[in-house]
C-alpha cells in the first residue's frame, strides 16, 4: 500500500514529538490504543487558563505510519484552537487531509480519540481544581 506524500512527510518529520508535564493542571493527557493492531498513542495539550486556547501540543505514538502522521497532524491543528474547537476535529478531517485509504481509517480514529481523551483529562483537572479552590474558600470564611 502506498502512503500519500503528506503521510510520508509527517512520518519522516513528525511535528511536536515529546511530552508535557503530566501533573501540570493546565495539561491534558490522552492515552489511547487500537486493540486490533496493538498500537498506542499518547497526545497532550497545554491550555492557557486565561484564554482557553491550546498553546502547546505534543504526541508520542507507537504505531503505523498513518497513526504517527495522524497524531502529528492533530498536534499541528490543535495549537491555537480553543478547547471546544479542538473537540470539533473529526477523524474524517484527518482522513481527507492525509488521503488515508479505508484500511487506515482506524488510525485516524485513534487520533480523534486521543484528542477527546486529552481534552477530557484537562477538563477533569480543571473542575477538580475549581472544586478544591471553592472548598478552601468555604473552609476559611472571610472575616
Amino acid at each position: 500500500m502506498a502512503y500519500s506524500n503528506k503521510v510520508i512527510d509527517h512520518y519522516e518529520n513528525p511535528r511536536n514529538v515529546g511530552s508535557l508535564p503530566k501533573d501540570n493542571p493546565n495539561v491534558g493527557t490522552g492515552l489511547v490504543g487500537a486493540p486490533e493492531c496493538g498500537d498506542v498513542m499518547k497526545l497532550q495539550v497545554q491550555v492557557n487558563p486565561e484564554t482557553g486556547v491550546i498553546d502547546d501540543a505534543k504526541f508520542k505514538t507507537f504505531g503505523c505510519g498513518s497513526a504517527i502522521a495522524s497524531s502529528s497532524l492533530a498536534t499541528e491543528w490543535l495549537k491555537g484552537k480553543t478547547v471546544d474547537q479542538a473537540l470539533a476535529i473529526k477523524n474524517t478531517d484527518i482522513v481527507t487531509e492525509l488521503s488515508l485509504p479505508p484500511v487506515k481509517i482506524h488510525c485516524s480514529v485513534l487520533a480523534e480519540d486521543a484528542i477527546k481523551a486529552a481534552i477530557n483529562d484537562y477538563k477533569k483537572k480543571q473542575s477538580v481544581t475549581a472544586k478544591t479552590v471553592a472548598a478552601q474558600e468555604k473552609a476559611q470564611p472571610t472575616v
Binding site: L31, V32, G33, A34, P35, E36, C37, G38, V40, K42, K60, F62, I105, H106, V109, L110, D113
Partner: protein, 235 residues
C-alpha cells in the same frame, strides 16, 4: 424471545420434502445428502453444544466421521446438486474444525456468533479504546518506550549482554501478565459453559460475553508486546 443459542431444530429436505433434524447431514427419509442449511454455525454442524471447553478427541472424531461421509469421492456419479452439497459440506467442515479446534479461535467465533463482537466492529475499532483498561495501555506505552531505549542503546554501541538483560527484565512482567490472562480466559470460559447448563438470563449471558470480549482485546496487546520483545532479542 428466542435465545441466540437455540439454533433452529428442523430443516426441510430439498429432495423429498421430509423434515430432518437441523444437524442432520442426510435426509432420514430419502437418505440423500442435504445442502448446507442457510442458518448454520460451526457448533451445530459438528454436533457439539456452544461450549468453550470441548474435548479435542471427541471433536476430532466428529470431524473425521463427517469428512468421510461428505467426501466428494462418494458423490462422483451423483447429480450436480448433490455433488455441490458434498463439496460445500466438506469445505464448511474444514473451516468449522479448524476454528473450533483452537481455544482462542473458538472464543472469537463464539463472540461473533453471539453478536458480541462483529467483524465490522473489529474493522472500525469502534468502542475498542474504551474497553481496554487504561492501566494496560500505560504498561504497553511504557514498554514501547523501553524498546525504543534498547534500540538506542544498541545503535549507541552498547554490548549485547547489556541490552539483552534489559529486554529480559522487561519481558518478565509481560510473561506474568500473559499467564494471568490465560487463567482469566479459562475462568470466564468455564463461567460461560456453566451458564449453558442452566436457565440463565440474557443479562448474565451478555455480561460473560462482554468479559470474554474484553479479554480478547487485551490479548492482542500482550501478544504484540511479546512479539516486539522477541523481535528485539533476535537482533
Amino acid at each position: 424471545m428466542i435465545s441466540e443459542t437455540t439454533a433452529p431444530t428442523i430443516q426441510e429436505c430439498r429432495w423429498c420434502g421430509a423434515g430432518a433434524p437441523a444437524d442432520a447431514s442426510f435426509c432420514p427419509q430419502c437418505t440423500k445428502i442435504l445442502p448446507l442449511p442457510r442458518r448454520r454455525d460451526y457448533f451445530t454442524f459438528l454436533g457439539v453444544p456452544r461450549r468453550l471447553n470441548i474435548d479435542p478427541a471427541d471433536l476430532e472424531q466428529r470431524f473425521r466421521d463427517r469428512s468421510r461421509q461428505f467426501h466428494p469421492d462418494y458423490f462422483y456419479n451423483a447429480p450436480l446438486a448433490e455433488r455441490r452439497a458434498s463439496l460445500e459440506r466438506s469445505s464448511y467442515l474444514n473451516d468449522a474444525y479448524r476454528t473450533l479446534k483452537q481455544p482462542i479461535a473458538r472464543i472469537a467465533y463464539l463472540l461473533e456468533l453471539e453478536g458480541a463482537l462483529t467483524p465490522a466492529d473489529k474493522a472500525a475499532g469502534a468502542g475498542a479504546t474504551k474497553v481496554v483498561p487504561p492501566g494496560l495501555l500505560e504498561e504497553v506505552f511504557a514498554l514501547n518506550e523501553e524498546l525504543d531505549e534498547v534500540r538506542d542503546l544498541r545503535s549507541g554501541g552498547a554490548s549485547k549482554d547489556e541490552w539483552t538483560a534489559r529486554l529480559q527484565r522487561a519481558r518478565q512482567p509481560i510473561e506474568d501478565k500473559r499467564a494471568e490472562h490465560e487463567r482469566r480466559i479459562a475462568e470466564v470460559s468455564r463461567q460461560w459453559d456453566a451458564l449453558l447448563g442452566r436457565p440463565a438470563g440474557d443479562a448474565e449471558r451478555a455480561g460473560v460475553l462482554q468479559a470474554l470480549g474484553e479479554l480478547m482485546l487485551e490479548r492482542n496487546y500482550i501478544t504484540n508486546l511479546l512479539a516486539g520483545i522477541e523481535r528485539e532479542l533476535s537482533q
